[in-house]
């Protein structure tokens, strides 16, 4: 079970969302893992706090006279049964929810709903009381701001007709009713002019009858013509067979019905349908776009195995549309295949750099141009902008970034949103012999510019020889070597707290364990698709290479990247 899975199981355990197998595996893991046990205890404690806060808040609510006040208001209202339930969707939902579905009689619920609606409709309509006579003022309120909505500013949701102010709807961008999410609204128009007198019913019936007779006559003629044609064309002993759809026409997950695909190798690819349903086109677009985004994320994380599987799926899913799809769908499929192939070659983009005593930021700007279209930014902190001299030719861009960092003796860290930053992280070069840990730790913390607080029971001596070690790693190493002490950092990240192992089980709130220094490293990315031997070391996984032919209008390989071999 991976670390992320375990973490999630621990996080979700108090909500009762684990099944019995997950519970058993987690329990088994917690027995042997003190870190996860501590984490689970902390999560449990936080959830217990939540419940305690709710209980304590509820114990002070409400005031003693609230019940009497509520009942007085209830008595002032009409009895709720006076209003009959409406035969609308709400009544239908009520019936659907309360009556469990009987699989043997699938139509029973529908019959009950219709019966209830008929019964309600047969009752005489309730006469609405005049609000003015009752002394009641009826207003409609905006679902967003809950203020009164006048008729001149009222805007109604196009789906649920909930009233809004026009500016509230514009601000929220959609209907404010929970679960509606409609982004269109309607405004009540002026009352329509009275309709012109319609054709009398008797004339309408005569017109319909003549139309029906004409239709029957035309149908009969068409049927006779078709029968004559069959007699002419069909020869005895030879059946007319329809072409069978190809087996690989629709991918395993493709929603395209197989009957829509043309036969394999049938001359020019004939589009099955002349037009494409825009809803279907949008559905394909959304799905492929999502897959492309996931593929891009897999590539950025360096997960070659996942990227390979996703690429294979995308190529297979777009293949029938690239071959036989109608205009816009075909173009979309081709573009998706092209972008997928471009995405998996992201790490194969190459750069050539020549510089003599040029600032690191300028060299990085040239590399950043190569990957700018993938949303990657490369920044250099002022303290790390060293002059570098280098000569790279046709080198992978990630390798070039790491080499530049080594040349300039700085580090690269990854920030959120695909931002790579060259930083100068303080490094330690010290030698201690039987030194008191209470002296060594403040020295190391000062390297990183941190204040430090030592627990009273943090004691011990340490001997070490550190060379070019990041200060976080040095601190953690010394603390561990001197008796397994733990280091925590506060939330703003300005103060360190060192506690002994016993005291570390209960760290103060607001402090998190100090993490070792992690620097960015370009992944060892295989060429896509791999060479002939899919089980070779560069394959990045045991899955076979995609056998689909790439997009017919494939872009030329970029910056010396290997072109994808054509299909078999």
């Amino acid at each position: 079970m991976s670390e992320d899975t375990l973490r999630e199981l621990v996080d979700l355990r108090p909500l009762g969302l684990l099944n019995s197998a997950q519970e058993a595996r987690l329990r088994e893991h917690l027995v042997g893992c003190p870190a996860c046990r501590a984490r689970a205890a902390a999560v449990d404690e936080a959830y217990a706090d939540l419940r305690r806060l709710a209980e304590e808040g509820a114990s002070t609510t409400p005031k003693p006279d609230a019940r009497a006040a509520l009942l007085a208001r209830v008595r002032a209202l009409d009895p709720p049964a006076a209003t009959a339930p409406l035969p609308d969707a709400h009544a239908a939902a009520d019936l659907t929810d309360s009556a469990p579905e009987n699989p043997e009689k699938p139509g029973r619920i529908r019959r009950e709903i219709l019966a209830a609606a008929k019964q309600a409709a047969s009752q005489p309509p309730a006469v609405a009381p005049d609000p003015e006579a009752l002394g009641v003022r009826v207003v409609q309120r905006c679902c967003y701001c809950h203020d009164e909505v006048g008729p001149e500013r009222a805007l109604f949701c196009a789906r649920c007709l909930a009233p809004h102010h026009d500016e509230c709807f514009a601000e929220h961008g959609r209907c404010a009713v929970l679960g509606c999410e409609e982004s269109f609204a309607v405004r009540p128009g002026a009352p329509r002019a009275p309709r012109p007198p319609s054709v009398p019913a008797r004339s309408r019936r005569a017109l319909l009858a003549s139309l029906l007779l004409a239709g029957i006559g035309m149908g009969g003629v068409a049927a006779l013509g078709g029968f004559a044609a069959l007699l002419t064309l069909e020869r005895p002993g030879k059946k007319i067979r329809r072409p069978t759809p190809p087996l690989e026409a629709a991918g395993p997950n493709s929603p395209l019905p197989r009957a829509q695909a043309a036969p394999v190798g049938s001359g020019s690819p004939t589009p099955v349908r002349s037009g494409v349903d825009p809803v279907e086109l949008e559905g394909y677009g959304r799905r492929w776009e999502g897959e492309l985004a996931d593929l891009s994320e897999d590539v950025w994380r360096g997960d070659a195995r996942a990227a390979r599987a996703r690429l294979q799926w995308l190529l297979a899913d777009t293949a029938p549309h690239r071959r036989h799809g109608a205009g816009p769908l075909r173009a979309l499929a081709e573009r998706t295949a092209r972008e997928a192939l471009t995405a998996v070659r992201f790490w194969e983009r190459r750069v050539s750099v020549e510089s003599v005593d040029e600032p690191l930021s300028q060299v990085c700007a040239r590399i950043a141009e190569v990957v700018a279209d993938a949303g990657v930014q490369i920044l250099v902190e002022p303290g790390a902008d060293e002059p570098v001299s280098c000569s790279f030719a046709n080198l992978r861009w990630g390798v070039a970034v790491n080499l530049l960092a080594r040349l300039a003796k700085v580090q690269v860290v990854e920030s959120r949103g695909r931002v790579l930053v060259f930083v100068r992280s303080p490094q330690v070069e010290q030698r201690f012999q039987e030194a008191d840990v209470r002296t060594v730790l403040p020295l190391l913390a000062a390297c990183g510019g941190y204040e430090i607080v030592l627990g009273t029971d943090v004691r011990g001596t340490v001997s070490c020889d550190l060379r070019n070690t990041p200060w976080e790693d040095a601190l953690l190493l010394v603390a561990r070597a001197a008796g397994g002490h733990r280091i925590f950092v506060d939330h703003p990240g300005r103060r360190l707290l060192v506690l002994s192992r016993a005291a570390a089980a209960d760290p103060p709130p607001g402090y998190t364990p100090l993490r070792p220094a992690t620097f960015w490293q370009a992944p060892d990315w295989p060429s896509f698709p791999p060479a002939a031997n899919p089980n070779g070391p560069s394959a990045g996984g045991a899955r076979p290479a995609p056998t689909e032919e790439p997009a017919p209008t494939e872009e030329p390989a970029r910056d010396g990247a290997r072109p994808l071999p054509r299909g078999k």
Partner: protein, 229 residues
């Protein structure tokens, strides 16, 4: 099987729970609520019918029965409101429930219905205050509850503040789903009715809420970030 029993699916009675879950203090659907739930259904139905007929005392009995539940939910949300305003929300919830009784089926469980009204009421407050968020006053609660020693009080106050902050950082929909599940102990079936969505959606919403809360707790240092070795 009686009519009352058919309204309570197996999943809502905590029958799927495993041994380990009973050990934790934060249990959600308590197994002992089986008999209570089965018994409460006809009582609720009788009281609802009486309230529909205009008996205010019957509605008063429903109020007595479900007041702790509604108050626990509204308090558990950590709304940026004073005590008086929370009282008003409770009143508003029960008044809306009374007005809606006319069009509802007396045999349906009242608890999810009532909590869904409370949820809608609270969501209105949360949305209207979203643009000017205020930290919930969790510290006062902690002080009232634990006045023993100064250090205990400080520690509890800080912890309560951070937990309330973490909860307040969640989106209103996720926050209400989490409180309904954890504090009110609603089953997935009840959540489905209360949130007005399908059971998988309700489950996904609670899962998202759990993930987000864990993230917020980790950010505030209440849960250690380090993973197992």
């Amino acid at each position: 099987m009686g009519k009352g029993l058919t309204l309570i699916p197996c999943g809502s009675l905590g029958l799927r729970r495993t041994e380990g879950q009973e050990e934790s203090s934060a249990t959600v659907p308590a197994a002992e609520s089986l008999s209570e739930s089965v018994k409460s259904v006809p009582d609720d139905a009788r009281l609802v019918r009486a309230a529909q007929a205009g008996e205010a005392e019957a509605f008063g009995a429903l109020y007595d029965r479900y007041l702790p539940e509604v108050a626990r939910f509204l308090s558990g949300l950590g709304l940026p409101l004073g005590r008086e305003e929370v009282d008003d929300l409770v009143q508003e919830t029960f008044l809306r429930c009374y007005r809606g009784l006319g069009g509802s089926d007396a045999e349906r469980p009242l608890r999810p219905y009532l909590l869904s009204i409370a949820r809608n009421t609270a969501l209105g407050v949360l949305r209207s205050r979203r643009r000017r968020p205020e930290a919930p006053d969790a510290t006062a609660v902690a002080e009232q509850a634990h006045p023993e020693t100064t250090s205990d009080r400080l520690r509890l106050r800080e912890r309560a503040r951070l937990v309330a902050e973490s909860l307040a950082a969640l989106e209103p929909e996720l926050r209400t789903a989490l409180v309904l599940r954890h504090v009110n102990g609603l089953t997935m079936k009840e959540l489905e009715a209360c949130l007005g969505c399908s059971a998988p959606t309700a489950r996904a919403r609670v899962r998202d809420a759990g993930r987000r809360l864990a993230l917020e707790l980790r950010r505030r240092g209440l849960v250690p970030a380090e993973a197992c070795a």
